[in-house]
């Protein structure tokens, strides 16, 4: 009977020196998940991440709702990055239904997606700061995030769960005078996040603490299937915005940030560099965007797919490649919907990275993987 118990509950015969720690789910340093850590003194011998505490069955739920009513619940796994998690779904549905999206809507999508990436990354950065005991780095991003949340509220009407992307474009046109407000706020935001370097990224204690911890080599990063900032911190130049441009990313000048070290410091710095890059992309998109025009193709009520068909689309989200696989059988509801999220793929690297590290490095390595527990559980 003991063999059937979930991991961590079964009694294991271990060395007397080894202590098993259940970090989470009721722990300030875990999030909605549990890491079963076995430590020998101060060194981690083995680590077993145990996600699944916030599994909500999003994929199964999607099979009972039609293509439009799927929108608001599919963004729930990452409410801070709700535009990006809807992006592959919307692209997929557009291909299934054969819709051509207006040019202005594509630019609005890019702007909303980049703003949302910054909102998510600021939240992630705030938690990374408090995990390292840096309370100022918790408060500053949490406060500066408001700038972009205000912008997104002007754009979409909601502060976090926007439900802004719909098949055929975006739900609303931009409010009047949005371009000026957006440019001003983004410029100020860029100025603010550049100040973080002085207090956080150039802080000698932070560098001494996170450099050379949890080193993920280039080969291991590819072998383990990590994506996004984790992959790019290990020296692999793989940004879907450049490699597989979707919407209008091919018309914009996108620079993908790559670092070679592969340690916690590099993994924590890449999202910050990405935020600066996002500011550039938003400025370019604001410049190139058509000043007027339709933002949404009118759909028939209850649109249906064209017979048995499937589509896989992926975008670069705040946590890496985010894919959506939709199978349609000609009904108004998708036959099967699968989300392939970056969080879960990055979590796979955690046991390899934590083995042999010190217990004090656990939060730094764990959160540098850019992992969002709710998204991984879906």
């Amino acid at each position: 009977m003991n063999n059937e118990l979930p991991p961590g509950l079964a009694l294991q015969k271990v060395d007397e020196r080894i202590m098993t720690l259940n970090v989470g789910p009721q722990h300030p340093g875990s999030g909605h998940m549990r890491i079963i850590v076995q430590i020998d003194g101060d060194f981690i011998v083995a680590c077993d991440p145990d996600p699944g505490y916030v599994h909500r069955g999003e994929e199964k739920m999607a099979e009972y709702r039609n293509y439009i009513t799927n929108i608001p619940h599919l963004e729930r796994p990452v409410i801070h990055d709700s535009c990006n998690i809807l992006y592959p779904y919307v692209l997929g549905v557009e291909e299934l239904l054969g819709i051509e999206v207006p040019e202005r809507a594509k630019y609005i999508r890019v702007i909303a997606s980049e703003l949302n990436r910054c909102v998510y990354t600021m939240y992630w950065l705030a938690i990374y700061g408090i995990f390292l005991g840096h309370s100022t780095m918790f408060m500053w991003p949490a406060g500066d995030r408001e700038l972009l949340i205000d912008l997104l509220e002007k754009m979409t009407g909601a502060r976090v769960t926007h439900a802004h992307f719909v098949p055929g474009g975006v739900r609303n046109d931009l409010p009047p005078n949005f371009e000026d407000v957006c440019l001003r706020q983004v410029n100020y935001f860029e100025k603010r996040i550049k100040e973080y370097a002085a207090i956080f990224y150039d802080n000698p204690i932070l560098i001494a603490r996170t450099a050379n911890t949890g080193v993920l080599s280039r080969q291991d990063a590819i072998r383990l299937g990590t994506t996004g900032s984790v992959l790019r911190a290990s020296g692999v130049d793989y940004d879907l915005r450049k490699k597989e441009p979707y919407d209008v990313y091919d018309e914009l000048d996108v620079h993908s940030n790559v670092m070679k070290e592969g340690d916690s410091y590099a993994r924590s710095k890449i999202p910050w560099l990405d935020m600066l890059e996002s500011c550039n992309i938003i400025r370019q998109a604001l410049q190139k965007m058509p000043k007027s025009g339709s933002v949404r193709v009118k759909l028939k009520p209850n649109p249906k797919g064209k017979g048995l068909d499937s589509v896989y689309k992926r975008v670069e989200s705040g946590r890496g490649s985010l894919g959506c696989y939709i199978v349609s059988d000609g009904k108004p509801e998708p036959y099967r919907l699968k989300l392939s999220v970056g969080s879960f793929r990055n979590l796979i690297a955690l046991p390899y990275l934590l083995k042999g590290e010190k217990l004090g490095n656990m939060p730094a390595v764990y959160w540098s993987l850019n992992y969002w527990p709710v998204e991984a559980d879906r």
């Binding site: 202590m19 300030p28 408090i130 390292l132 204690i205």
Partner: protein, 432 residues
């Protein structure tokens, strides 16, 4: 007020007292009267105007107002007052409370937020009282498998030890609770108690996270005690005494930080480590080990530990001031007491009131206390500041800092002190 007791009625309060009047009188008879007897027998009574002042005569100021100030002054020279109020516990607790308020507001300003705001009319100044009331009213939960006597005793011993540390600090000339000749040795002895209390409380709670936190605290405190003691040897070499009051008196011209800056820096870093403040707050690292050795504490037990921590913070900051910044010495900025009030009395129209016993405090004492508070608050400010700037460091970085760097620097500091002594610049018989 309504938040605390929504249905408070004075008549019911009086009625509840009247209902229990028997028990109140019984407790008073059983505890209060013996306590009064002990005070009468064992506490030395002051002599005023050639008359022994017994507790019964203490109330004679009601009949003879001119005795008020002499009685007050006599009371302030008693050990009871010194321990409970001025240079001792009450003063330290007041500075600790001010420290908590300053810490919260200062960090809030640094982090672009408001901080305590609603509790109290001015800028949330009563927030600490609210927190204290909350802690008192909360249930104290003790883990089932804890070693209960030790678990209960550890916070109380912690506060007591911190208070003993406070007792050794000279605040102004003659104003010190325990003026021992080996004051610095006593300080080292008291600092040596803290790791023992920490590991006792951590181990007795029989829980994994407190245990790891306790072990970390033990490593940290023990390895930083050595540079702490070594960094203070320079001052001892130059002054030739261990008495803290004499060390302050030796700095009437210049503070030792001018000649021993390395020792002062080492001592400041070890203060941060001993106090478990960021960047050395590993024993309480929340993202790794919940709250470290404080994890299982709840209610007022936790409040006691926090009180002890802030008393310790005040004591360490005051020790820094005493040893390196010249304690109470400083230019005379307190205005002198007007002479004509002593000689002529206060003239209010036709009435002239001569008040015997003025001034209550000498000008030197008030000036010294003012300088002491200014310097201590300054040091406390610099102890609080790293919390907003630095992340937490790791245990191996901490130990290598303590053992490799600080101890080596402490020896450099000692050589500087010895060099100054043998060159005849400073110390007994020096030219300065």
């Amino acid at each position: 007020m309504s938040v605390i007791a929504p249905n408070f009625k004075f008549s019911e309060f009086v009625k509840s007292i009247l209902d229990n009047v028997f028990w109140i009188l019984l407790i008073f008879a059983l505890i209060g009267l013996p306590a009064a007897q002990i005070i009468l027998f064992y506490i030395e009574m002051p002599v005023i105007n050639g008359e022994l002042l017994t507790p019964f005569l203490a109330l004679t100021w009601l009949a003879d107002p001119s005795r008020t100030l002499p009685i007050l002054k006599a009371f302030m020279t008693t050990d009871l007052f010194k321990i409970a109020a001025f240079p001792g516990f009450g003063f330290a607790a007041l500075i600790a409370a001010g420290t908590i308020f300053i810490e919260r507001k200062m960090l809030a300003k640094l982090q672009l937020r408001v901080g305590p705001f609603y509790c109290g009319k001015f800028e949330g100044i009563l927030q600490l009282m609210g927190d204290g009331l909350k802690l008192i009213s909360k249930e104290i939960i003790i883990p089932a498998k804890a070693d209960k006597p030790i678990f209960w005793a550890a916070p109380i011993i912690f506060v007591a030890t911190a208070a003993a540390f406070v007792a050794l600090i000279p605040v102004a000339p003659g104003w010190v609770v325990a003026d021992v000749d080996v004051g610095l040795l006593a300080v080292f002895a008291i600092i040596g108690f803290f790791p023992i209390i920490t590991i006792l409380s951590a181990w007795s709670s029989n829980s994994k996270f407190p245990f790891i936190g306790g072990i970390r605290a033990l490593h940290q405190m023990v390895s930083f005690e050595i540079p702490l003691i070594l960094s203070l040897l320079g001052v001892v070499i130059l002054t030739g005494t261990l008495n803290l009051s004499e060390i302050v008196a030796s700095q009437s011209n210049f503070p030792w930080i001018i000649f021993l800056p390395i020792g002062a820096i080492i001592f400041f870093i070890t203060i941060l480590a001993e106090l478990e403040r960021i960047p050395f707050d590993l024993p309480e690292a929340e993202s790794e080990i919940v709250a470290g050795w404080l994890t299982e504490f709840s209610g007022m037990i936790y409040g006691l530990v926090q009180l002890g921590t802030y008393l310790k913070l005040y004591a360490f900051a005051a020790l820094f001031v005493v040893l390196f910044l010249g304690g109470w010495s400083g230019p005379m900025i307190w205005p002198p007491f007007p002479e004509e009030i002593i000689t002529d009395g206060i003239v209010m129209g036709p009435i002239t009131a001569k008040i015997p016993g003025l001034p209550i405090f000498s000008q030197e004492m008030l000036n010294g206390v003012l300088w002491f508070i200014i310097k201590t608050v300054g040091v406390i400010f610099f102890i609080l500041l790293p919390r907003g700037v630095f992340p937490r460091i790791r245990i191996d970085m901490l130990l290598s800092l303590g053992w490799y760097k600080l101890i080596g620097l402490a020896f450099v500091n000692i050589f500087i002190a010895l060099g100054l002594l043998y060159a005849g610049v400073l110390g007994p018989g020096g030219i300065l």
